[in-house]
Amino acid sequence: MNFELTDEQRMLQDTLRRMLASSQGSAWQPLAEQGVFAALFSEQYGGLGGSGFDIAVVFEELGRAATIDPVLDSALLCGWLIAEVASETHSELLADIVSGEVQLAFAHTEPASRYALSHVETTIEQRAQQQVLNGQKSVVVNARCAGYLLVSARDEAADDRNCIALYLVPANCSGISMYYYEMSGGGQAAEVTFENVAVSSADCLSADALPAIESAVAAAVVAQCADTLGAMETVMSMTTDYLGTRQQFGRPLATFQALSHRVADMLIELEQARSAVILAAGHLDADPVTRDLHGSAAKNLVGRVGQLIAEESIQLHGGIGMTDEYQLGKYARRIIMADHRFGDIDYHLERFIELGKTPGDF
């Protein structure tokens, strides 16, 4: 057993922490220049890392600094999808993702899909000489800045109705309309409508993309949990600092045991969260059942701990914790909203129970 980071990972962590602490607004350019995106991909795909731990190191720092750039949705999620299904045919695009030249958005979730990855109603149909996409996608994160959309769709004519196809579509294609909005947790997204959007068969990256989607989302789950972990660490230090300084009744709040014991409970849970993230990161390259079992365990546990820490830190701050100006609010929203992405605590609890029925030794 060895729970230490490698020297490279530690260097990456130090660099990122220093860089993000001093950056304001978008950090995309400096992240790209420092080769941070390369850490999310294995050498096979032109990267320098790509393990669960590499991903966890990067996202813990992004969460700690509450960075709003779409590293998770564009670089990691879309990058992994392309790497899984089209690394040969689209090697240039992949290289551009790894270097940070291009941004993408994954148009997969639909109004009625909730968190299910296999629920796709958007269709692809052969009409005369061309194929057309029709459907509606929800919460397409980073749609506004994406050069391309990765769109999941069902082939009406396919033999196997369970197959989900994946298309690479320029975001400015005619027939695509978007309703943009800011997200509570930071960043932006859009509701995207496809109305007879013409695509060619060369745009089809995969006719059976579900396994690749599941694998990329597994990486996103590790990233999202690590991001929440980093955000929680910031929140904890804000809370302990504040309780140490804020005086009421002539003494620091930290001296009220009713408050300090709650901080102690939060710290206990934070350690639990760190272990859950380590488990999920360490099993990212395992077989899908083992991988997803640990992913669901982490997403459930981190979701629960996140809610505890976000709510308690606001409560322990009192009124100031409710304000937009004070940084805590931004972190609390980021942590709570993380539970609404890639499956919430209930979704992952159910999935954990289901996966646990599979015979095996995890």
Partner: protein, 398 residues
């Protein structure tokens, strides 16, 4: 034991329902139902409708123009209003200042200010909290120094709810710094249009602008705006805080919230089934409903005791804690119910544009979830309420 409303209570409830049916406008109830912010005029119109019916001040004695209802009637009224998505009655004049003036105000103050509260001439806000005086309210530092026939006020209040709409503020101010903190505080009524007052909005975590900072710079206040005696303000403030707590449990709000969650959970789908049939979600919902059923009964038990003339003691602290926790867990369920559609940030500014797609508008429930974290902070934080309960449990009395 008799677990049901009396025939009189039921008849009263029918009367309330008929009134609500006839007087509420859908454009307003829709806003309440969707937790969209209300315009100042929405509140004013609702106050006017209630006033016309003689129901604006259920807690006031008849001699001051109140309805003088029993505690149970007030409970029924509040619950029916919440279920009908009526706007809330702005409490600062009606349930806070009114009773204080009735008990401690001069006859001149009573005959001048009380009718103005009822007919909507004044919009009051509450100037208690300060940056350095939250839970420890007695530490307040806003000073009032008497010069002849007026006080000169300097300092800052904060968290002033709906202060942007108010033309009047009732304030706790320090008039003596030499004595024990609680003994040097006075209760002043201040016109917000006096020179030297500045109101600055505080944006909250959900993007709403419902609270404000209120700054006082050499503000002149006529001495006749002092309520009761100088340096006795703490007594009046405590009266205000411990009195008028019938609706502290927020049973009506919780019932309305629960109904809203159920509606949502029937229309949201998890796979092939509506969310309400998902075992985990259904379990969360059922637990809250069970808690709420019991709390509603606790509330009624305490109310009937209050009707019998017993002053509510630590029970109101218990209801504050349980009531806010239940309401917050309902808001939590609400955001869970909409799943991935909880993420859009729908600020007040955005809401005006009607072309927001429904799925995006769902983000509103997250705003409500974040906003209602305030419930356990204000009105005496839940920690302070627990302190009161524990103190009594261990024989400290009140």
């Amino acid at each position: 034991m008799q677990l049901h409303y009396s025939d009189d209570d039921l008849a009263f409830r029918d009367e309330v329902r008929a009134f609500l049916n006839a007087s509420l406008q859908e454009s307003v109830t829709e806003k309440v139902r969707l937790a969209l912010p209300l315009e100042k005029t929405d509140y004013e119109n609702w106050h006017a409708a209630l006033h016309a019916r003689g129901w604006l001040a259920p807690n006031w004695p008849k001699q001051f123009g109140g309805a003088q209802w029993t505690a149970v009637q007030r409970h029924i009224f509040e619950e029916e209003c919440a279920l009908a998505n009526a706007p809330r009655v702005v409490p600062f004049g009606l349930t806070m200042l009114g009773p204080v003036l009735q008990k401690f105000g001069s006859p001149e103050q009573q005959s001048y200010w009380l009718p103005r509260i009822l007919n909507g001439d004044d919009w009051w806000c509450q100037g208690y909290s300060e940056p350095g005086a939250g839970s420890d309210l007695a530490a307040l530092a806003t000073r009032a120094v008497r010069h002849g026939d007026h006080y000169v006020v300097n300092g800052q209040k904060t968290w002033t709810t709906l202060g942007q709409y108010a033309n009047m503020i009732f304030c706790l101010v320090r008039t003596d710094s030499e004595v024990k903190a609680q003994e040097g505080i006075s209760f002043l009524l201040i016109d917000m249009n006096t020179p030297g007052i500045e109101v600055k909005p505080i944006v909250l975590i959900d993007g709403s602008a419902e609270v404000n900072e209120v700054w006082f710079n050499d503000v002149q206040v006529p001495v006749e705006n002092l309520v009761g005696e100088e340096n006795k303000g703490w007594t009046y403030a405590k009266y205000l805080l411990t009195h008028e707590r019938t609706n502290i449990a927020g049973v009506g709000f919780a019932r309305a919230g629960l109904a809203a969650v159920k509606r949502l959970a029937r229309s949201e789908y998890a796979g092939e089934k509506p969310l309400i049939e998902s075992p985990l979600f259904a379990a969360r919902l059922a637990e809250i409903e069970i808690d709420l059923m019991a709390m509603a009964t606790t509330n009624l038990r305490i109310l009937s005791r209050a009707s019998a003339g017993q002053a509510p003691g630590i029970e109101s602290s218990m209801l504050k804690v349980k009531g806010t926790v239940i309401r917050q867990s309902i808001n939590d369920l609400m955001r869970r119910a909409v799943g991935p559609h909880a993420v859009p940030f729908i600020s007040e500014v955005l809401e005006d544009s009607m072309q927001i797609p429904d799925a995006v508008r769902n983000g509103r429930v997250s705003m409500q979830y974040f906003n209602n974290r305030k419930l356990s902070i204000y009105g005496g934080s839940n920690e302070i309420q627990r302190q009161i309960i524990a103190k009594t449990a261990f024989g400290g009395g009140r």
